[in-house]
């Protein structure tokens, strides 16, 4: 089994192609791999519960993490995050991608 870490940096309200990450992450998860999506920069705007943008990923069992620095920059508090999304330090991302048999994909 391979671990996949997708690092999403794009705002879904600005970039239509964020659906690429959603579709690919779910497809890889359905094939039995560990999948994490780490939201950073403007991508954390999708993490707010009022948007519901990441519900399909959460329902598919994908691990969803949102960069704490990016959240603070944009005034988003932990209690505003959708269910299934965890506030996370960048150290967690580093640890996740620094193991063998792990694919790290930036988008």
């Amino acid at each position: 089994m391979t671990a996949y870490v997708f690092i999403e940096s794009r705002d879904p309200f600005e970039s239509r192609d964020t659906e690429f990450v959603e579709a690919t992450a779910i497809a890889v998860k359905e094939r039995g791999h560990d999948v994490t999506v780490f939201l950073v920069q403007n991508a954390v705007l999708a993490a707010r519960k009022t948007t519901g943008r990441l519900n399909r990923l959460a329902a598919a069992g994908v691990t969803l993490l949102a960069d704490d620095f990016s959240l603070r920059e944009r005034g988003i508090k932990a209690e505003e995050l959708s269910e299934g999304i965890q506030e996370s330090a960048i150290d967690t991302l580093i640890d996740a991608i620094s193991h063998a048999n792990t694919k790290a994909i930036w988008h």
Partner: protein, 135 residues
């Protein structure tokens, strides 16, 4: 635990994209975890460690250079190279083709000129490689 090494390929020029800030944060976090880091900077990213960068005052806010404390990417890279001078080690290679295109030769100490072959070697010898491209 076995020694870990991450290779990051950076493409964005300084002061243009949040990607640069995130990349520098990632390098810092990796070094703090004892992970070696290789950086292959290409295209505009070769300007991140340019020695000629200078902080400036802010005429909108009326602040002086000293009051503004304007951060430069060369200062960030220099600090990271100091942290990663031994173990863990930070290796920073600027793509020579990209350097020549931009005349970006005057860089801070510790930055090495290289070629895409260095990226191949770094990636081959690393635990993992992450490419951070421009949008």
């Amino acid at each position: 635990m076995k020694e870990r090494t991450l290779t990051l390929a950076l493409m964005d020029p300084p002061y243009e994209s949040a990607n640069s800030t995130t990349a520098l944060r990632m390098i810092s976090a990796a070094l703090k975890q004892g992970i070696n880091v290789n950086v292959f900077a290409y295209e505009g990213a070769v300007c991140l460690p340019l020695k000629d960068q200078a902080p400036h005052a802010n005429p909108v806010k009326g602040t002086t250079v000293e009051e503004e404390e304007h951060p430069t990417t060369k200062a960030f890279v220099s600090s990271l190279l100091a942290i990663g001078k031994d173990n863990p080690r930070l290796t920073w290679v600027n793509c020579g083709l990209c350097v020549d295109e931009r005349g970006a030769t005057n860089v801070i100490d510790g930055v090495r000129r290289g070629s895409p072959a260095d990226l191949f070697k770094m990636a081959s010898e690393s635990t993992n490689t992450l490419v951070i491209p421009t949008k």
